[in-house]
């Protein structure tokens, strides 16, 4: 038998038809939808007069366009309220399960899918959201799609898709103290650039990946899109199975044992061919922070922003435009630079593990007066757990307030905006111009680096405070 990659195994077993000279018709096991990218898809179904083919294989939530305060009140902004109402209406009409605002299982789409056991190894998963790659942490082929494609999947449970090339990124060695999976992925993106994996599906492997928890793996897969990759995935293993065993929806299924046997086969065969292979050493990775306006513009926190001499001529204009927006100059050091906002949350770092790490760091310390902090759990479940474990109380003592779940300041569709010109250390995934509000300046980092900035009010190496 020809050795196959994990990606090939999953993709190939889901091909319903190969169109000659064209894309594959790929069967989708699970779709997630949310309020922002679905209304036009439902409108399309209505215009065609057709139903949703498999409503049980789509799960809906409201997350992008909702407030993170007073969620029991009607949404103030009329357009946002209308969009959320539309999803309620559409899911009722088409028979789709909807975890809307105030539902006990509501949350960010990429947090609740895994949490509630909808995401499983070996699946094909899509959502009208580029961070769908998150679900790849379970050994599934998961990728973001546009609204026309959401409509395709609603209508036919299939999508027309060209098969991407395959890349394997192996991370050897062991992480230093104070360095997290967020730093691994920010480091990789800084090495290969924001478009460096365009056209590829990435498998992450190696000892530094295999030892990570499921939530840390999700952080890595989540940001695959930030280097242009179609998606990212990690072979399921004992850590995956242990995580799944704690989810009632999964473990209570009568065929759980036989499923697990199948999942054990989900790994790349020895000798399987990748179109590109990259290797990194985890031991060399330091806490990372971004200085520019795409996630590839990142450096170790104690390094300097590249000097103009380090930038190739064709990139100079974009580089300078980016630094001008950020209010930075080439070659400057970032440590000690004042910070105005700190955001902990998003589908990248809004899980319980992230809240625990942040809380442990700020415990017994006080938030700096110049910092406005937004601590936003990724789901109702995470919120409840944070309260139950006492994290909310510790946070409160340190001067932080726990918000209600949602995408919040990651894309700032709601009121959680960073004002123009202000600096935000953010655990989210994008530092694009205006991403956190018009004129906002985003510095992407790990929950630990965010916690360090929240305490000192400036860009701080979290390792300095861990050793105190």
């Amino acid at each position: 038998m020809i050795p196959k990659t994990l990606f090939d195994k999953i993709w190939d077993s889901h091909v319903v038809q190969s169109i000659e000279g064209g894309p594959d018709v790929l069967y989708i096991d699970q779709q997630y939808i949310h309020e922002v990218t679905s209304p036009q898809a439902f409108a399309g179904l209505k215009a065609r007069g057709i139903p949703v083919m498999r409503p049980a294989q789509t799960l809906a939530t409201a997350d992008h366009n909702i407030p993170t305060k007073d969620q029991d009140q009607p949404i103030k902004d009329a357009l946002s309220r209308n969009q959320v109402d539309k999803l309620d209406e559409n899911t009722r009409e088409f028979g789709i399960t909807y975890y809307g605002l105030n539902h006990p299982l509501n949350g960010i789409v990429h947090v609740i899918g895994p949490e509630q056991g909808f995401t499983l190894p070996g699946m094909t998963i899509v959502c009208g959201d580029s961070h769908t790659s998150t679900h790849g942490a379970f050994g599934s082929v998961a990728f973001g799609i546009g609204t026309s494609e959401v409509e395709m999947v609603l209508a036919t449970q299939c999508i027309l898709q060209p098969k991407p090339k395959k890349m394997r990124i192996t991370v050897n060695g062991k992480l230093q103290k104070g360095v997290t999976s967020k730093d691994i992925i920010l480091y990789i993106i800084s090495q290969i650039s924001t478009g460096g994996a365009t056209g590829y599906f990435v498998e992450y492997a190696g000892p530094a990946i295999e030892t990570l928890s499921m939530e840390s793996r999700m952080t890595i897969c989540n940001m695959s899109i930030e280097m242009g990759a179609r998606g990212g995935l990690i072979a399921p293993d004992e850590i995956t199975f242990e995580y799944l065993k704690l989810i009632p929806n999964v473990v209570n299924k009568p065929d759980f044992a036989s499923q697990q046997e199948k999942w054990n086969l989900l790994k790349s065969d020895t000798g399987a061919g990748f179109d590109r292979e990259l290797t990194f050493d985890a031991g060399k990775i330091r806490p990372m922070i971004t200085y520019g306006t795409n996630p590839g513009m990142g450096i170790a926190i104690d390094d300097s922003i590249p000097a103009l001499d380090d930038i190739s001529e064709d990139r100079t204009a974009s580089f300078l435009k980016s630094l001008d927006y950020m209010g930075f100059i080439p070659g400057m050091r970032m440590l000690g630079h004042p910070v105005d906002y700190v955001f902990l949350g998003s589908c990248t770092n809004g899980r319980i593990e992230d809240l625990r790490a942040f809380t442990k760091f700020v415990k017994g310390r006080k938030k700096a007066n110049n910092v406005t902090a937004l601590i936003v759990p990724g789901s109702k479940k995470v919120e409840q757990q944070a309260i139950k474990e006492g994290l909310a109380t510790i946070l409160k003592k340190a001067g932080f307030e726990l918000r209600q779940p949602g995408c919040s300041s990651c894309l700032a569709m709601n009121e959680d905006k960073v004002p123009p010109g202000k600096y935000a250390v953010s655990t989210s995934n994008r530092n694009f111009e205006g991403r956190q509000g018009p004129g906002a300046r985003t510095l992407l980092a790990s929950p630990l680096t965010a916690a360090a900035a929240a305490i000192t009010g400036k860009i701080t190496d979290p390792r300095d405070l861990l050793n105190e």
Binding site: V25, V36, G195
Partner: protein, 200 residues
């Protein structure tokens, strides 16, 4: 459902020589609350096109009367970031029918093809030449012949061929729609389900 067909387009160009133009720049998130596909062109490149007070930013190319046309010429890795199809709707609603770059983000490219906006990939040196030509002569006309997969800078007669998936090419030229195709093979899809028992 039938869509607009794309065959041959002759037009002037609008140059945007920046790399990594992300979909948050093309259409900022705060304009994504609409529930229809219409009207996004008004806010295309909103924060580059207008200043904080809502006045037109004279330096931005869409506000420069020298440049016009249905072809947007952009730096590499155009359309990176969010999967929002609103970015494509905004570009098309503004009046563009094709975007030229040396490479596109994957989701953006798929979204473009699904909306009759043609993404044309050219080599980086050709892209530089084209941008230089437009800079020197903003009235430069180009011709995109989808049938022959040929992009030509008309005044200098310089041509380059471009790749497009044959299935997608046919869809663009005939104004066909993926969903119509998928609905036509429903029996094959249900046969797949019977064999594989998905969703279980």
């Amino acid at each position: 459902m039938p869509k607009a067909k794309f065959d041959i387009l002759e037009s002037r160009c609008v140059p945007l020589p920046l790399e990594n133009v992300d979909t948050d720049q093309i259409i900022p998130a705060r304009f994504l609350s609409a529930t229809t596909r219409d009207g996004f062109g008004e806010n295309l490149f909103r924060d580059w096109r207008y200043d904080k007070s809502g006045n037109k930013n004279k330096d931005f190319v869409l506000n420069d009367p020298i440049y016009s046309g249905q072809v947007l010429v952009a730096g590499k890795n155009f359309g990176s970031g969010s999967s929002r199809e609103h970015a494509v709707w905004a570009i098309a609603d503004y009046g563009f029918r094709a975007v030229i770059s040396s490479f596109f983000a994957d989701i953006f490219r798929n979204n473009s093809l699904n909306n009759g906006l043609l993404p044309v990939v050219v080599r980086e040196d050709f892209l530089s030449d084209l941008l230089e030509e437009i800079r020197k002569k903003p009235e430069t006309m180009v011709r995109i012949d989808l049938g022959r997969q040929l992009f030509t800078i008309l005044p200098v007669g310089k041509s380059v061929s471009f790749e497009i998936n044959p299935y997608k090419k046919e869809c663009m030229m005939k104004g066909l729609d993926d969903i119509d195709y998928l609905l036509s093979i429903r029996n094959i899809i249900t046969a797949y389900e019977l064999r594989n028992n998905p969703g279980k």
